[in-house]
């Protein structure tokens, strides 16, 4: 009788303990979501207050003058990111194809792939200093194109790893069918592997772009900044992220407002890319 009572008691204690611990886990999950909502709402409301049409079409006005905009930063950001994408995507996809298609049984290629995987989490500011030493210092001034190179270097490992992962999902029997028909290796890669995995590779590309759109640190001393609109990538070029950094640190209330507005555009732009990538991979 007594032992049975004890047993019921321990079971109850264990159950209560289980509930308590699992509730804590639930609370942490809510904690995570809470921050997301808080940040998004703050960015949305503060950004929306300062969002206006002139932000996109006007050049910056001196502090105190109404109606200034950040046209130069939007244009610069677009140019820098596009050039980076053009440089980064082919190299990234190419390396990814090599890892998956040529390097299956090679220890050396596996080693290369592992290093690439490490480079995905590599501190972006170090890449900025690297590009500064290689491109900016010899030329003598900051350049938009050097910002693109830094971003491309940042993007390549991301795209390479995603491409590799996706190509590994393509069943080998498909490739063997190609070889059986007499196709050569590059034909198998082009017409079978890539064609089967193109949606996944597209996801990798979008994720790569999403990764570099929000980057600031590598641009600080490569593309630097510019207060005027320029279309020439050999000149210092403003970007949205560096401008946010400058304006948020600045003393003027107007600047803070414009920084929030740019933050709104940037955040939702990045999240759009991200959601687009998820959407592409889900739609089978």
């Amino acid at each position: 009788m007594d032992t049975a009572g004890n047993l019921i008691k321990t079971v109850r204690v264990r159950k209560i303990k289980s509930y308590v611990m699992l509730s804590i886990a639930t609370v942490t999950a809510i904690y995570g979501v809470l921050w997301l909502l808080w940040i998004l709402l703050d960015v949305f409301f503060n950004g929306f207050k300062s969002l206006s049409f002139s932000l996109f079409i006007n050049d910056p006005a001196p502090p105190g003058v109404e109606g200034g905009g950040l046209r130069h930063a939007f244009v610069g950001h677009f140019i820098i990111t596009s050039l980076a994408t053009i440089m980064g995507i082919p190299i990234g996809i190419g390396a990814g194809i090599y890892f998956a298609e040529y390097g299956r049984h090679s220890t050396f290629v596996k080693f290369l792939r592992n290093i690439t995987d490490v480079m995905v989490s590599f501190p972006s500011i170090v890449i900025g200093t690297l590009v500064y030493a290689v491109m900016v210092k010899p030329v003598g001034h900051f350049m938009g194109i050097s910002g693109s190179v830094a971003l491309a270097l940042l993007m390549i490992p991301v795209v390479a790893i995603t491409t590799d992962e996706i190509l590994k999902l393509v069943p080998n029997s498909l490739r063997e069918a190609g070889y059986a028909l007499g196709a050569r290796r590059w034909q198998v890669i082009k017409d079978i592997s890539l064609s089967a995995a193109r949606r996944g590779i597209l996801t990798g590309v979008i994720l790569g772009i999403a990764r570099i759109t929000g980057e600031t640190a590598p641009l600080l001393f490569t593309a630097f900044n510019n207060n005027y609109l320029t279309l020439d990538p050999t000149q210092p070029m403003a970007s949205l992220t560096v401008t946010i950094f400058q304006y948020a640190m600045g003393p003027y209330e107007v600047w803070h407002g414009q920084a929030w507005a740019s933050a709104l555009i940037l955040t939702f732009g990045t999240l759009m890319f991200f959601i687009l990538a998820k959407f592409v991979i889900r739609r089978k």
Partner: protein, 316 residues
């Protein structure tokens, strides 16, 4: 008709091979070489030991000691990891074990989105929203509660400004939570259902299964995830750039401004007016490179590689 040596085949394989070698070997190697080359003047002037242990960073008189920046980096990373670890494990437990199937995509996506927000947004939000909150409410509260206690009271001394180690570490923790919890969750989900069912079969409660089956099984993944996130936190710049104050001094409490390697580089690189100043910043970048590369490699090779091979059902 030799397929291996046809011209398109050669072009394709050589080009792709070059890209692979470029990203996997040349790129990191070139980074290392160039950083070493650029930091030679600083190494010659200060000496590596002097640079690492020097407490004074005074560009005007050209005295460069990196200890405050290194300590600051480690401190901010430590604070953020200490906050992020329990939360990430909790999130992983919730998503993989508790969450009803219907809400799973919602929570997973929400946490992933948290990771997709650009770091500068975290920094700016931290500066405009969190720092005032910390300065006006949280830090005075902490001071009143813990400030009088022996030992830990020291941690909360100083004027609560919101621009300090605590705020930096806190904002950084929000940033690494998604990353850490994603890896921990993946490790959890690798636990074979068979093992869990065996636990339930013995009459274990859900928590006991998590505590005694899932967490031990996923431990290598958790450790790997933590090291990986720490590696990421070390190199994070913009989230903390607004919040540290960039003061080259070893903070005596959590409420004092400090600097990290990344923040020092970001703030001072374009202002460096002498070659030796610039070279010292390159040396900082080199130290950061070695620290984070070492950590990331450790995570990669020692732990993440093993997790897949640890338990394979036999004889079933």
């Amino acid at each position: 008709m030799n397929g291996k040596n046809s011209i398109p085949e050669l072009i394709v394989s050589q080009t792709l091979g070059f890209f692979a070698v470029f990203v996997g070997l040349l790129f990191p190697l070139a980074t290392l070489t160039i950083l070493i080359y650029e930091s030679i003047p600083a190494l010659e002037k200060s000496g590596i030991l002097h640079f690492l242990t020097g407490r004074v960073w005074d560009p005007v008189s050209e005295v460069f000691g990196a200890l405050p920046a290194i300590v600051g980096t480690l401190l901010v990373t430590l604070i953020s990891s200490m906050i992020a670890l329990p939360v990430s494990v909790g999130i992983a437990v919730f998503i993989s074990e508790l969450c009803p199937e219907r809400f799973k995509p919602f929570f997973s996506t929400a946490v992933e989105l948290l990771g997709a927000i650009p770091s500068i947004i975290y920094g700016m939000w931290g500066l405009f929203v969190i720092a005032p909150l910390m300065a006006d409410h949280v830090e005075p509260f902490l001071q009143n509660t813990f400030g009088k206690l022996p030992l830990i009271g020291v941690l909360f001394e100083g004027a609560p400004t919101g621009i300090d180690a605590l705020t930096s570490g806190f904002v950084l923790s929000i940033m690494i939570i998604p990353f850490m919890s994603a890896i921990v969750k993946d490790a959890f989900e690798m636990t074979p259902p068979l093992l869990k069912e065996a636990g339930y079969g013995l009459g274990a409660t859900k928590w006991e299964v998590v505590r005694n089956v899932v967490i031990p099984f996923a431990l290598p993944g958790i450790i790997g995830g933590v090291i990986l996130s720490v590696g990421r936190a070390l190199g994070e710049t913009m989230a903390v750039a607004f919040l540290t104050g960039n003061v080259h001094a070893i903070p005596k409490s959590l409420l004092e401004p400090l600097t990290t390697i990344t923040v020092a580089i970001a703030n001072e690189f374009t202002e460096a007016d002498s070659d030796i100043y610039l070279s010292s910043l390159f040396l900082l970048a080199l130290i950061l490179f070695l620290m984070s590369f070492g950590l990331l490699m450790t995570a990669k090779f020692l732990i993440l590689e093993r997790i897949g091979k640890r338990w394979t059902p036999r004889g079933i």
